[in-house]
């Protein structure tokens, strides 16, 4: 069996950043991903990132992805794609299938960076072809350059809903409206303003009543809701659409952490059940770390910082950094993470993350 200093599961922003940190410290790293390409969801982010220059603000997501891939390559990180992991054992042996064969790696440290998947929403007609995750539509337009439909209704005004609406317009689709059940817009005002300027109405306190169509989406009925989330009579509007994009949040992909025996806590603000971890990102199972959306849904910038944190902590635990050097590096990451978790949107996340760290 192959022995490695660290095995990282998930080659998205968190996993790639973690791999770079361990390799930079001199560790031997293998990065596993079930997909046939690395980068996770970074390559569909064609917009410029926010934050400061330290967070690569102003750089488009896919360019950040390319940069990370170059770094991993230059540092000799082994990347195995098409490699779904199906077992993590007590002695930290990681099992996966690859090219039709079962393989195992004996890892000193494991980092779970499996990300998150989109939530769905139930309504009459929600299973019709044409109802899809906003992230799925984003993959289709920005990675494969294929339009999932022409006349679209977006559900959910978080940043995913807002950004994907704008990107659907860039791709040439017509977005008839964006609806939001809450009485206010969930994402950044700057994104909302952009789509409003482009002529897309944002209907707050509105939800889907039903969707109809013969084999595919052909229309939707939308209704206003009151502060108790009940439909307001005579406020129904029908939309002539062929596609509905659902952007109602994400849930951490935690199966491997459950499998490994990590202890969990439940924090709705972070997306549900989250593996408990300390400030080094180490879970309740010694030697198993977490980073990115698996520790609570945020965005790619914070996922990369958490990856770096987990990577530095692993490098320290492997004896590649002394305590003093590791502390300096970790403090730098924490400063950047805290900077990302400020403002009206970041503050809630910062508090939720603090709650998570305080579970231990």
């Amino acid at each position: 069996m192959k022995h490695r200093d660290a095995v990282i599961i998930g080659a998205g922003p968190a996993g790639l950043a973690a791999a770079v940190e361990i390799a930079k410290a001199g560790g031997q790293v293998t990065l596993l991903d079930e997909n046939n390409k690395p980068g996770g969801q970074l390559f569909k982010q064609i917009h410029k990132f926010f934050g400061s220059s330290e967070h690569l603000a102003g750089t488009r997501g896919y360019n950040i992805g390319l940069q990370l891939l170059e770094n991993t390559k230059a540092l000799g990180v082994e990347v195995i794609l098409d490699a779904p992991v199906h077992g993590i054992y007590h002695d930290r042996v990681v099992s996966f299938s690859h090219k039709g064969k079962e393989q195992s790696i004996d890892a000193q440290k494991i980092i779970l960076a499996t990300g998150a998947s989109e939530n769905t929403l139930a309504f009459p007609g929600s299973t019709l072809p044409g109802v899809m995750g906003a992230g799925a539509a984003q993959t289709m337009i920005n990675v494969h350059q294929v339009l999932p439909g022409k006349k679209i209704l977006m559900v959910g005004s978080g940043n995913v809903g807002l950004i994907v609406t704008y990107q659907l317009l860039q791709a040439g689709a017509n977005v008839l409206a964006l609806i939001e059940a809450a009485p206010q817009i969930g994402g950044y005002g700057v994104h909302a303003a952009k789509i409003r300027r482009a002529g897309v109405p944002i209907l707050i306190s509105h939800t889907i009543k039903e969707v109809w169509g013969n084999d595919e989406v052909e229309g939707a009925l939308v209704t206003q809701i009151d502060k108790n989330w009940q439909p307001v009579p005579h406020t129904e509007k029908s939309f002539d659409i062929d596609t509905i994009c659902i952007a109602v949040g994400l849930s951490p992909l935690t199966e491997l952490a459950w499998l490994a025996g990590c202890r969990f806590t439940y924090i709705p603000r972070l997306g549900g059940h989250i593996p408990i971890h300390n400030s080094d990102m180490e879970t309740t199972v010694p030697g198993i770390y977490v980073a990115g959306d698996i520790t609570g849904v945020e965005e790619a910038s914070s996922a990369m910082e958490e990856g770096r944190l987990a990577g530095i902590a692993c490098a320290q635990a492997l004896g590649l950094y002394d305590a003093k050097r590791a502390l300096i590096l970790k403090d730098q990451v924490w400063d950047r993470l805290n900077a990302l978790r400020t403002g009206p949107f970041g503050e809630g996340r910062r508090q939720a993350k603090e709650e998570l760290l305080n579970v231990l």
Binding site: N36, T139, V146, K150
Partner: protein, 105 residues
């Protein structure tokens, strides 16, 4: 529908093409794209019929998690079309219920 000229991604010029067979229809697909993208590009959105109620299903998550987009590919049922890449000569069928295994692979 394919996006031919994207304001940020630019023109898609250097694609190579393969031929796939979808329910007896011959389609051109872009080399390296998943089956689901090729089908959406051709305006096909109904990928299968559910076993119990006979309801249509298409793509939902696009990242291989939800299994809504499964089809029968080269005689093998339950293939996740959003993460399975097209190949020259691939035979793709709308899947009825749980699908059937064919002898030829």
């Amino acid at each position: 529908m394919r996006i031919v000229n994207h304001p940020i991604l630019g023109k898609d010029t250097d694609s190579q093409w393969v031929t796939i067979n979808v329910d007896g229809k011959i389609l051109q697909a872009k080399k390296g794209e998943p089956i689901a993208a090729a089908l959406l590009a051709a305006g096909i959105r109904k990928f299968r019929i559910t076993a119990k109620e006979g309801n249509p299903r298409g793509i939902f998550c696009g990242i291989g998690r939800c299994t809504d987009c499964i089809m029968t590919v080269n005689g093998q049922p339950n293939i996740r079309t959003c993460i399975t890449l097209v190949e020259e000569g691939m035979v793709i069928e709308n899947q009825q219920g749980l699908g059937k295994w064919s002898d030829s692979k």
